[in-house]
Symmetry: C2
C-alpha cells in the first residue's frame, strides 16, 4: 500500500484537468440530493446514470483526488459528499465583496444559497450616491472610493464584479492591486489579470448565443436529426 499511496500523492499534485473540475459541482449537487433523500450508498454506475455520464468517467474523475469507495459496495453518500465538498473548498467561510449594486448585483447576492456553502458577502461597493449608505440584504453599500481602504482592513478572498462592461477592467485592476486573488466576473469582457489571479467568468450573453445557434442548426438540418 505504501507504493500505491505514493502514486496517489503524485497524481494529486499534477494539474487537475479543467474538464474534471467542472464536473465536480455537478457531482456535488447530485450527492446533496441523494443525501437529503437519505440514500446511504450508491455505486458509480447508478450515480453516473443519474448524471448522464459513464461510470468510468466518474471513477476516473474521483481517482484524481483519492479513493473514496469500497469494492463490492460502492460509495457511502455522506462520505463522498463530504469529500467532494472538501475538494471544492466549500464550508470554509470565504469573504467576498461585490462591486456594482445594480439589478444583477442584487440578484447575485440573493442567489441560491451560497451563504450556506460558506460564501459570505461582507460589503457592496457602488458609485451611485443614492445607493451608497443603504443596506441591501443586511450588507452595507459603500462608495467605490472606499474599496482599497476596506480591503486593507478586512479578510476578503473573492471580488465579484457586476458593473457595466465599461468599468469592469478598472474595477478588476483595483481589486488585484489590493491583493484579491479570485474574481467572479459577470461583466461581458475578458479581464486581463496577472497569472496568480483566478478569474471565473459567468458567460450569460455567450450562453444565449450558443442556444440561438443550436436552435438554428437544428432547424437547418431538419427536425429529426
Amino acid at each position: 500500500m505504501g507504493n500505491e499511496s505514493g502514486q496517489n500523492f503524485q497524481r494529486r499534485h499534477q494539474q487537475i484537468p479543467l474538464a474534471v473540475i467542472k464536473r465536480l459541482p455537478v457531482y456535488h449537487r447530485y450527492l446533496s440530493d441523494l443525501h437529503q433523500k437519505e440514500v446511504a450508498r450508491i455505486s458509480s454506475s447508478e450515480l453516473a446514470a443519474k448524471i448522464g455520464i459513464t461510470a468510468s468517467q466518474l471513477r476516473q474523475d474521483l481517482s484524481w483526488f483519492g479513493s473514496f469507495g469500497q469494492q463490492g459496495y460502492g460509495y457511502r453518500v455522506d462520505e463522498l459528499l463530504r469529500e467532494v465538498s472538501r475538494i471544492l473548498g466549500l464550508n470554509q467561510n470565504i469573504g467576498m465583496v461585490l462591486v456594482g449594486a445594480g439589478r444583477l448585483g442584487r440578484a447575485i447576492i440573493h442567489y441560491a444559497n451560497f451563504k450556506r456553502r460558506g460564501f459570505h458577502t461582507k460589503a457592496i461597493f457602488d458609485n451611485n450616491p443614492e445607493i451608497v449608505g443603504q443596506i441591501i440584504d443586511g450588507i452595507p453599500v459603500y462608495d467605490i472610493s472606499e474599496l482599497e481602504n476596506y480591503l486593507k482592513n478586512h479578510s476578503i478572498q473573492i471580488g465579484v464584479i457586476t458593473t457595466p462592461a465599461t468599468v469592469a477592467q478598472e474595477v478588476a485592476d483595483r481589486l488585484v492591486r489590493s491583493g484579491i486573488k479570485g474574481i467572479w466576473n459577470f461583466a461581458p469582457v475578458s479581464l486581463k489579470v496577472p497569472d496568480d489571479v483566478i478569474v471565473e467568468h459567468v458567460h450569460i450573453g455567450e450562453s444565449l448565443m450558443v442556444l440561438s445557434m443550436k436552435l438554428q442548426q437544428r432547424k437547418a438540418s431538419g427536425p429529426d436529426s
Copy 2:
C-alpha cells in the same frame, strides 16, 4: 473547385463540436470590438493572439463553416463579423418569454443588449399576484396560469426560466408541452426534456464553486506554481 466545395458542404453537415460552438460568441465579441474601432482587416494570428488561442485553432474552427479569408491578406473584419453573426443566428428577431419575475429574472431582462442582437422578451409570467399586471421594462407580467394560452397565440422560440429550483422542472414541462424548443435555464437543476428540445443552463452556482476550488488548489500547491 467543384470537388472542394462539395467537401465543405459535407463538413458543414457533420456535427459541429461543442468546443467550437462555445468559442464562436467569443470571436463575435472580439470582432465587434474591432469593428467598432474601425479596424478593416485582421489576420488569424493577430486575432488569435488577442483572444489567447492559437491561430491554428481559429482557422480550424472557422473552416467548419466555410472559407472567409483571403491568402496573403487575412480577414475583412466586417465580413467575418457578419458571417459569425449569421452562424450564431443573431439579428433574427427571436421571441422569448420569461418565467419568474424575481430579482434574477428582472436582471436578465435588463442584461446587456440582447435586444440589439435580435432577442425580444415578449411576456413575463409569475405566480405572485402582487407582480402580475405590472409592466417591467415595457414587458407585461401575466399570471402563470395564462402561459399555455399565451404560447398558443404568439410566436415564441425561447423560454427563460428564472424561477426557484423547486418549480423549474414543472415550468420546463409546461413550456415543452406548448411546443417551445429552446430553454434558457438559470435555476440550479438539470432539467429533463425530450431530445428535440435544447436547454442552455447558466451555471451560476457551479461557477463560484469552480473558483473556490481553483483558489484552494492554488493555495495548496504554493503561491508560485
